[in-house]
Each structure stands twice: as structure tokens, then as C-alpha cells.
């Protein structure tokens, strides 16, 4: 446990000094501000750019639109940024040889993997927290309509999906040498999960719904219980992938 603690501290310091933390917090803060604003301004903008004399009935924006923006941005740009920022977290240390000094001092390889995953989770959590808090505050201010429900749970689902992808990223970085390789594998997994959505029998289990059906949860079109199986599976997946990453990394010749 001690090695985990030491290496986790090192990872956090690295995130601060290499501006990883700054990048993630800035981007997620910007999402937070943009989400409600985009929802509020889109109808006005559309109306401005419409040809003269043309009239469309635009629905009045609500808090639902704001949260729709949140889930769209964070699941797409947000996750991509996080994966990009972390893609080299292990590959760089191996190719540059920075781990050699520490491993030969007895640093356990489990600690390397688990501390890196924990640091990724910490930054991802901070990003989600910042973005959702800002979105929430601004949305309540702009659209005090009370139409959005299950917010905490919906955000948690998205967070868990991110945690699952990060576990996938950690595992794939132990398999391939380059940071691009691990990104490609992680991308392939997302594509694979998307393909699985076609099969109705798989759908209720697919962790992908944690990132795609959040608005149904907020609009109360889906019961929270719908997510029980994907949550269980994603959680198991995280544990399994990290354990596998440790097993593979232990055997790796550096």
C-alpha cells in the first residue's frame, strides 16, 4: 500500500506540473459554462440567421436542452480529451526509461498500474465534477423550470462509463508499446460496444448505455433500474481490466 501511496503522489504532482490537471479543469469548466448558454442562445441564433419572412416554430429552450448539451459534450469531446491526455501515461515511461530507476529500487509493478489508474480517475472525477456543478448552477439560474430529474445518478452513469474506458486504456497500454496503439485499442472497444447495441439481447447489459441514455433518465423516460445491469458490468469490467493490466505488466520485460 505504501508504494501505491508514494507513486500516486508522484502521479498527482506530474499532473499538476505537466499541466494535465489544468487542461482538464479548463476544458471541463468551459463545457460547464457553454452547455446552458448554447441551450439558451441556439433558438435566438437560429431566428437571426433565418431568411426574412420565414417563420419556424422553435420550442422554448428548457433545462433539458442544457443537460443534453452537457452529455453530448462530455461524452464526446470530454472523453476524447481525457483519453488523449492520458494515452501516454505508461507508454512514455516505458519508452523513455523513467521507470527503470524506480523499479530497480523495488517499486512494485502493481503500484505502478493501480496508482496510475487512481490518478486518472481522480482527474476524470474532478473534470466531471467541475463541469456538472457549473452546468447545474448556470442551468438553475437560466432555466428554473424543474424539468430535470435524476441528475446525480445520470452524471454518475457517465462518470462510470469514463472510468470503464480509462481502465480499458490502462490495460491496452500494457499490451502495446506506443500511446497511439492504446488509443486505437480503446477506440476499437467503443466501436465494438456500438456494434453490440444492434443486438437487442445485448442492449440491456451494454455499458455503452451509461453514456448514451442519460437524457432518458433525466427526462424520466427510463427508470434508474434500467441501468443496474450495465453499471454492474462496467464496474466488473473496471476491476477485471485493472487486474489484467497488472498481470500483463508484471510479465513485461523492460
Amino acid at each position: 500500500m505504501n508504494h501505491f501511496h508514494v507513486f500516486f503522489k508522484k502521479e498527482l504532482r506530474e499532473s499538476v506540473r505537466t499541466h494535465r490537471l489544468l487542461i482538464i479543469l479548463t476544458i471541463f469548466f468551459m463545457f460547464g459554462v457553454m452547455n446552458p448558454l448554447t441551450a439558451k442562445l441556439t433558438p435566438d441564433l437560429l431566428a437571426k440567421f433565418l431568411p426574412e419572412g420565414m417563420i419556424i416554430e422553435l420550442p422554448v429552450p428548457s433545462s433539458l436542452d442544457s443537460w443534453a448539451q452537457f452529455f453530448k459534450n462530455v461524452t464526446q469531446m470530454g472523453l476524447i480529451v481525457v483519453l488523449l491526455v492520458f494515452s501516454g501515461i505508461l507508454a512514455n515511461e516505458i519508452t523513455q526509461g523513467t521507470l527503470i530507476n524506480l523499479l530497480t529500487k523495488g517499486l512494485s509493478r502493481e503500484a505502478v498500474i493501480t496508482a496510475k489508474y487512481a490518478a486518472m480517475l481522480a482527474l476524470w472525477s474532478m473534470g466531471v465534477l467541475v463541469s456538472s456543478l457549473v452546468t447545474w448552477g448556470y442551468t438553475v439560474y437560466l432555466f428554473p423550470d424543474g424539468k430535470s430529474h435524476n441528475l446525480v445518478f445520470a452524471v454518475f452513469c457517465l462518470w462510470l462509463f469514463g472510468a470503464f474506458l480509462l481502465a480499458q486504456l490502462v490495460f491496452s497500454t500494457t499490451l502495446v508499446k506506443s500511446s497511439y496503439g492504446s488509443l486505437i485499442i480503446t477506440g476499437a472497444v467503443v466501436v465494438f460496444l456500438n456494434i453490440l447495441q444492434v443486438f437487442p439481447g445485448v442492449q440491456p447489459w451494454n455499458p455503452l448505455v451509461l453514456a448514451t441514455h442519460n437524457m432518458e433518465l433525466i427526462g424520466q423516460n427510463l427508470e434508474p433500474s434500467f441501468f443496474a445491469r450495465p453499471i454492474g458490468l462496467a464496474f466488473l469490467g473496471c476491476c477485471l481490466l485493472v487486474v489484467l493490466a497488472v498481470v500483463v505488466f508484471r510479465k513485461k520485460q523492460i
Partner: protein, 305 residues
């Protein structure tokens, strides 16, 4: 007492058999030069010793403990300096040593004391900028500091001097020489003058095996050819000496270059005394009389042929 013992070590990368039954023993408190051509397997051997690579066959024992790949128990006796040590560029030297000390499990006070000691040993006590701005030589010196942090009984350095300028090289060699007696040093190199400067034992690796090992004195004795170099006052005097019938015997070869002669004696009853007797009988005082020692370089080229 041997700090490090290697027995029957084999390692292949694909079809490339790098180590083919390497046997080696490093006695404690020696400075051990591990010599070999580029690609001879020096780095591979060292990486197996510190548990970064897995041996195909054979055993490595450090301070009586067998090294098992994937376990780092034996590593507490070892300090390792890789050929190009890499650090986290965003850290400062003290922060880096602190990280290393925490991983090695040293108490915080000990880490601070050791860091100061070592930074002054390697001449980095006044440097507080980030490691990303360090030169190669500074990184190499910080590398030695991190390797010595846990007071290891064995310091393994992989070509610590090969990428440095003459000043940097001198500094590293001085540091290694200064820890002699406290720590056993095993260092690989292909720069023979470095070995001559600080090592008391050497081992030459070639074709995956040791082809030569022992103290430098022993080796030179073993390989000493019965050769002598004599310089005379003039070329005429040298020529006169060559023409003596005593030097015409079988087993004596003489080569003249100006006023100098190189004489090799191969016969059983001939040794240097005979030359001295001859000089004395002829009342010749040479300007120089020298028993020719084989240089490390000539030995090296001879054994790795």
C-alpha cells in the same frame, strides 16, 4: 566473499543468443570492470541482475540471495545506474531523490541526510533547477546519487562514461573511485583507459561468455610475454649488441628500431637476467631497460578475436 555470483546464465532474443552460459563472480569491495564489445551482452547481463529481464537459464545470486524475475527482494542490495538514466524532467534533484528514498522505504530523516551527502558527493548540491534543464553529465551524476541512495552493497553502472565529454568522464570516474571500499562497483564499459584508471578486477565478455577475468595484475602476469625493450646510446651500439653470437641462439627474436631493440625470449633457459649479464659482460650501460607489460588494449583485442 562474493557480492555477486552468476552461474550458467543464458539469454536469447529471438535467434540472437546473447548470453551462452555466463559464469562470473564479483568479490566484495572491488571495482570490477565489465568489458566487452558493443552488443556483447553487458547491458543484458546487468538488466538480468536487477530483475528487469528474465533469464532463459542460469542463476544470479546477490549477497547470498537468488534473484527471481518479477520479485524485487534482491534489489535492496543493489544500486543501478542505467546507461542513459532518465528522470522526471518536472522534478528537482531533491524531489527526485525523495521519491526514490520513499520507494526504497527509507525513513524521511535519513532520506534528507542521504540526499545532501550524495548531492555534494556528485557536485549537485547547489543545483535546484528542474531536471529537464540538466546536461548529460549532470544527469549521469544524479544517476549515481539515486543509485547510491539506499547504501547498496553493490553498485551496477552500465557504461557510465561512454556518452560524456572528457571533463564529465573524469568526474564520474573520480566519484566511482571515491566510493571504493564502501561499495562494490560493477561497471561495464568499452573504454579501456577507464578500466585501467579505477578497476582492480576485470572480466571480458565475448560471444556470451567470459573469456578473461581476474585482477589486472594477475592478467598482465598471465599474459606477459617474455619481451624486453632496451634502448642504447646510439644505433651503432644497438647494432653491435645484435650481432653478438649469444643472441643468435634459437628461441631469441630481436627487432631493431634505431637505437632501440625489442627482444623476445622463448627458450626455456632464457630469461631477462641473461640480457643483463650480457650487457654487463660487454660493459654496455643501456639508457633504458624495460620488461614489456601487455596493455589492456592488446589483451582485449587478443581475447575477443
Amino acid at each position: 566473499m562474493h557480492v555477486l555470483e552468476i552461474k550458467g546464465l543464458h539469454k536469447s532474443f529471438g535467434k540472437n543468443h546473447v548470453l551462452q552460459g555466463l559464469d562470473m563472480a564479483v568479490p566484495s569491495n572491488s571495482v570490477f570492470g565489465f568489458v566487452g564489445k558493443n552488443g556483447a551482452g553487458k547491458t543484458t547481463t546487468m538488466k538480468i541482475i536487477v530483475g528487469l529481464l528474465k533469464a532463459d537459464r542460469g542463476t544470479v545470486t546477490v549477497c547470498g540471495e537468488e534473484v527471481a524475475y518479477g520479485h524485487t527482494k534482491a534489489n535492496r542490495h543493489i544500486g543501478f545506474l542505467p546507461d542513459v538514466p532518465e528522470f522526471y524532467g518536472y522534478m528537482r534533484p531533491r524531489e527526485y531523490l525523495q521519491l526514490c528514498g520513499e520507494i526504497a522505504g527509507l525513513p524521511p530523516r535519513r532520506i534528507r541526510e542521504r540526499s545532501e551527502e550524495l548531492l555534494s558527493l556528485v557536485g549537485l548540491s547547489d543545483v535546484s533547477r528542474k531536471i529537464s534543464g540538466f546536461s548529460r553529465g549532470m544527469k549521469q551524476r544524479l544517476g549515481i546519487a539515486q543509485a547510491l541512495l539506499g547504501e547498496p552493497r553493490l553498485l551496477i553502472c552500465d557504461e557510465p562514461t561512454s556518452a560524456l565529454d572528457p571533463v564529465g568522464r573524469k568526474q564520474i570516474l573520480e566519484i566511482l573511485a571515491s566510493i571504493k571500499g564502501k561499495t562494490t562497483v560493477l561497471f561495464s564499459t568499452h573504454i579501456l583507459s577507464d578500466v585501467e584508471r579505477i578497476c582492480d578486477r576485470i572480466a571480458v565478455l565475448d560471444g556470451g561468455r567470459l573469456v578473461l577475468s581476474g585482477t589486472i595484475g594477475e592478467i598482465q602476469k598471465q599474459y606477459r610475454s617474455n619481451s624486453f625493450s632496451i634502448r642504447f646510446a646510439s644505433a651503432e651500439q644497438a647494432a653491435e649488441f645484435v650481432s653478438l653470437p649469444e643472441l643468435g641462439q634459437a628461441g631469441i627474436t630481436v627487432a631493431q628500431a634505431g637505437e632501440s631493440l625489442t627482444i623476445t625470449l622463448e627458450g626455456e633457459n632464457t630469461h631477462g637476467q641473461m640480457l643483463i649479464d650480457l650487457l654487463s659482460a660487454k660493459q654496455i650501460t643501456p639508457e633504458r631497460f624495460e620488461v614489456m607489460e601487455p596493455t589492456l588494449e592488446s589483451l582485449f583485442t587478443e581475447v575477443v578475436q
